[in-house]
Amino acid sequence: MSPDGTPLLVLALVAVALTAVLIAVGWDRGGRLRWPLRLVAVVAALLSVSATVLVQLNRMTEAYSTDAEPEPEAGPEPAAEETPGGSQLLTVTVAGKASGLTSTMYVYLPAAYRTGTQRFPVMEALHGYPGSPRTWLRKLQVRSRLDTEIAEGRMAPAVVLFAPNTPRQLLDTECTNLRGGPQSETFLTVDVPAYAMAHFRVRTDRAGWGLIGYSAGGYCASSLALRHPDRYAAAASMSGLAGPEIVVGDGTEDTLHNVVWRLEHLPRPPVALWIGWADDEQGTRRDALRIARAARPPVSVTTAMVQRGGHSHAVWRQMEGPAFDWLSAHLARPLP
């Protein structure tokens, strides 16, 4: 049973109903053990309600799932989901030498990848917290969005990598190298590119590499682009803040890991940023405007706004098409 499936939610709801019935019917029974039994029943009821809430939250964020978990990479052919003649979605395992992290990654290969010998531009797509690469696929329907944008010619065919920001679902790394913890920044900016370059026909120059993300992943995209301008030419942040809002461990949360601080205090690299927000979400709106104000050439900032929707999947479904189109236009084309 998958942790994000309907059966588990139904099971949890049944447990809630059963514990309620148990209390209602058993309250007056039990003789001398009446009070301990009542206590057990009430605790069971609380647990069942909590479990239901957690299951539903997981369904909303797609943080945990057993679906499409990869087999350990057996052969050269990774597990693939196929559409005849269309795009492909692969599940691969990246064993990161530089970071020491090993994680599952989804790889979108455009339809054009099947034929010819082109080397494609690459976009690393980063998820929010809590969340997982699956959130892109299940909640943001990213695959059909990419298929559409490419088919309409608004986006050049690109390889899109959906890598996890964190090796542990309950640990928010904000794509940083946590002191004494997972080296997610190294994983995302060294190991994932190395894997992609070794296994797929992709461009290897910075002009062909970009980042995109929503929520925490949006912060990750803009921050990683500014921190690694030798590897990425452009980044799109959907509802991302300017800072990590976690403790990185080396006291650089508000400086080296803050997008606005970097723009104001460090030499600015030639990086193009796309910053999108929902106008009814105050935090990201405030930070987006601060980033836009702090940017000076050669950093360019393109802003985009949806009227309302808060911090929700509906907002990012609305934003991802424009963001992918923009990103494609700011990367180099597929190499013949």
Partner: protein
């Protein structure tokens, strides 16, 4: 009542209290129906408590700031700007090459009218815009770069960079071109012109290659280029004892006279942006 307002939270919290109290009150007073009353009372109270907690979290985190947001309504539509046909589109319907006579041609003092080439898919992809390969110098361009509009100019000593500034806008009117992702190839004598053009259109040119005559030439005549512009120098032969004379980040290519220009164009071709139809756009918001 606002989804994130205090009143709604109070109402839901009060209903939890009332439901809980009513359940307790009716716990042993409902006769034969007491099991049903108890069960329903517990379930409704639990639901109200969960709802209340959800509202408090949502108020602080602003996941759904309004009922409309909760319903998935963003109140916004992304749209694509209509593509403006190039003034020369009809002239380019049956041919891939023409002599270009823009409005400001006389002020540019060129040796001959520029040659404009469009790729084979230009007429069929009627809504697509193409990046531009701009060639400045004495060379015979015979074929377009795939996926790009190629414009070849022969500047003279009288050609000034100031006058050439109008080229970008003029080309945008006559041919469907992208607003970025262009590249440039220039001869040794046109390098200063190329550098000036790149400086006056920051963000437009991704890459510049200069075809030099001397094996020890540098890109000095290009001047400062906008950061992020990829640079290459094509020399006729590897300079003996001059390895590493190029500035850091400059690609050094070696090709003699017959292939030097083609080498430069091939390299800039790798730096071009894609040909694209107009993107989906959202409002830009109130950013400066």
């Amino acid at each position: 009542m606002s989804l994130t307002g205090i009143p709604l939270i109070i109402v839901v919290a009060l209903s939890a209290v009332v439901c809980g109290a009513a359940t307790a009150l009716l716990w042993s007073r409902s006769g034969r129906g007491r099991y049903v009353v108890r069960t329903l009372g517990i379930l409704v109270t639990e639901a109200a408590l969960v709802l209340c907690a959800g509202l408090v979290v949502n108020r602080s985190q602003q996941f759904y700031p309004s009922w409309a947001a909760l319903a998935g309504d963003t109140g916004t539509r992304s749209a694509t700007a209509p593509v403006r046909a190039g003034a020369l589109d009809s002239a380019l319907a049956g041919r891939s090459e023409l002599d270009w006579h823009p409005r400001d041609l006389r002020r540019w003092h060129l040796a001959a009218p520029p040659k404009a080439f469009v790729p084979p898919d230009y007429p069929t992809r009627g809504t697509a815009r193409f990046p531009v390969l701009l060639v400045l110098g004495d060379t015979a361009v015979t074929a377009p770069e795939a996926g790009a509009v190629t414009v070849a100019l022969r500047p003279t000593a009288a050609t000034t960079a100031t006058a050439l500034r109008s080229l970008v806008a003029d080309l945008g009117k006559d041919v469907r071109v992208t607003p970025g992702g262009w590249v440039m190839v220039a001869g040794a004598d046109q390098a200063a012109l190329a550098g000036h053009l790149a400086r006056t259109s920051p963000g437009l040119f991704r890459a510049i290659a200069v075809v030099e005559r001397s094996p020890v030439a540098t890109l000095a005549s290009l001047g400062r280029t906008p950061p992020g512009t990829a640079l290459a120098i094509v020399r006729p032969a590897a300079a003996p004892g001059h390895t590493g004379t190029s500035a850091p980040g400059v690609v050094t290519l070696t090709a003699g006279a017959p292939t030097a220009w083609q080498t430069a164009m091939t390299w800039t071709g790798t730096q071009l942006g894609p040909a694209l139809t107009p993107p989906l756009l959202l409002p830009t918001g109130s950013a400066p």
